[in-house]
Point group: C2
Chain length 356, copies 2
């Protein structure tokens, strides 16, 4: 039976990425060597790294003055690298969920943190709107998409201090105005590649302002200078990421991907609204993520939750159990998830409604 | 033409590891999902993580009181995590090469570093022997195998302070007495798996002694408590590492691997000694690495260096150019390199000698 992969991350990647990676692990471009067994200093891998960085710049229209990095360690390491490199006295953070909270916790190791607003009061089911970012903050940190809670900041904010964004789960889902950001980072394992690498897009001029001594590997300037080759980079995750970037380009770029994303999410939100059994946990459509759709059973059908999970699983749906912080269900509709999978989930919801 | 992969790292891995990983990327154990697209919290991946940790404990006979971790970021991140977690006042380091020097540099960010001995005076071509480790050092750090220079500490040292060892390039090459170590770490990309994950074997009782606030992700206790699942681990590199660990077990364990390693290295060192064109950069056999064999042209044949590289390349040898710090040639004979490749290199050296 065909599986429909709604995992929140690591999550579905294009078939193109999977087959290209599997092929390269057996034999990289007819070289007689495995992708896993070549030096990161080989001409083959240097070409991979360079093309991947160039494609990110091309697809996101990254202006000059910005560097693109691929670093090991994942987004969680960035929670500490960001303040290590940028926090002089105080930083401002928007608290929109568990990951934002974790970023805030790490920043507090390095200085004062001003939480400009939080949606914790209603279990992070909305994006706070009316907040002021102190002009003297060293930077302002946001989490653009909140995987667990299904909320998303869908515009590029205008703020005074450098804007730092964790875009782990919505990078490449829409066009961005990079010039509004000081630093964008994220783990690859949603819209880019397998777990094990983080991407960073950083405006070089915001670096170098802190007095503390930064360990070499945690200093962004190290990696800019060494073009992400200061230490051995995660070769396979970067190779796979390159394949996904090529796939995005061949799909027509992020504008085309965005149209499909909006259509996919629209279909599912419409069904949740129509179906008598379900309701969204995020009420304001403006805040509803196009990447992670969180929904629960209406109060009177609560006891059917386990039954629906079981029924959906029997119909090939994988990974739709909601995060324990929210409960219910979560369907992650990342770039690589085909519209057919959304349609299959909708059919399953309708079938279940009929038999309930 | 068959390629013989002598890269220093990332480097050759068992065919078993390559085919198992490629298969799993297309379809993980008949699940209908790719290894790259499954949640790290799925039962499939939790089983991978648990078996990999258990196999390291089994293969290296790790005593109780030690934890085995798989972390993103590579060994270079450990250069800063080790002092972050362990350096209270001063640490002792043995300087046996470039990587040891890098580790020393990072430790100095956190406190006093005593370099107990260094072989820098003769371009790191030997392992210093007569040194004293201060009893009041918080730990003593060594690099057991020096990939660039071809030297190796082949015994488990007896010292007072906790012994911390970077074993990136010789882990699983021989039996260890783990009880003599406080912490062992290394990047996977030599004897274990593809680049992108570090292994750590740590004695829990040496942790928790520093006063500084450690960022959560840089605190070993975080990862012990969360069983290497605090953040999304590098799923593919860990899966591949598990396959290599199974391969080591099926080869008969590290004792059997060690016998083969000694035989392979012996064959090559013997040929270097016999062949009139070549000489080892490491003179003392006691210090000669069984993992990385470094050699150069004898003075009178120096001008043949490029010719030999070209000739070797034509004969299928890959990655035998020496590191720029040493020059000449380096053949890395990691666990997965078959004896046939060593024999092929030796034939090439003999053929070149005959025609020179």
């Amino acid at each position: 039976m065909k599986k429909h992969n709604f995992y929140a991350g690591p999550s579905i990647l294009p078939e193109f990425t999977l087959t290209k990676t599997a092929d390269a692990i057996l034999d990289l471009d007819g070289s007689g060597l495995s992708l896993m067994s070549i030096s990161h200093r080989s001409k083959e891998f240097i070409a991979v790294m360079e093309e991947a960085q160039a494609l990110i710049k091309e697809l996101l229209d990254v202006p000059s003055g910005y560097s693109v990095l691929f670093l090991g360690g994942g987004a969680s390491l960035q929670f500490c690298m960001v303040p290590y490199n940028l926090l002089k006295v105080k930083a401002a953070y928007l608290n929109t969920g568990s990951w934002a909270s974790k970023a805030i916790k790490e920043a507090k190791v390095f200085g004062e943190v001003i939480e400009v607003a939080s949606s914790q009061d209603r279990n992070y089911s909305y994006i706070p709107k009316d907040f002021a970012v102190p002009e003297d903050a060293d930077y302002f940190h946001i989490t653009t998409n909140n995987t667990i809670y299904g909320t998303e900041i869908k515009t590029d904010l205008d703020v005074g201090p450098p804007l730092v964004a964790d875009m782990s789960s919505d990078i490449f889902s829409r066009k961005l105005d990079i010039s509004k950001y000081g630093l964008i980072y994220g783990g690859a394992q949603k819209n880019l590649g397998p777990a094990g690498v983080a991407f960073i897009i950083v405006k070089e001029s915001i670096l170098g302002g802190v007095d503390r001594v930064i360990p070499t590997i945690l200093d962004y300037r190290t990696h800019i200078e060494k073009e992400s080759m200061f230490n051995t980079p995660p070769v396979v995750p970067i190779y796979s990421s390159l394949q996904t970037l090529r796939w995005i380009r061949d799909m027509g770029g992020v504008d085309e991907i965005y149209k499909i994303n909006v259509e996919k999410a629209g279909l599912l939100y419409d069904e949740i609204n129509r179906n008598k059994l379900f309701k969204c946990t995020v009420e304001d459509p403006e805040d509803q993520s196009i990447m992670n759709v969180c929904f629960v059973m209406e109060e009177e059908y609560k006891e059917l939750e386990e039954n629906f999970l079981e029924f959906a699983s029997q119909n090939g749906m994988v990974g739709i159990k909601g995060h324990r912080s929210v409960g219910g269900f979560r369907a992650s509709l990342y770039n690589a998830l085909p519209k057919e999978s959304v349609e299959a989930l909708i059919s399953t919801m309708r079938d279940f409604e009929r038999k309930s």
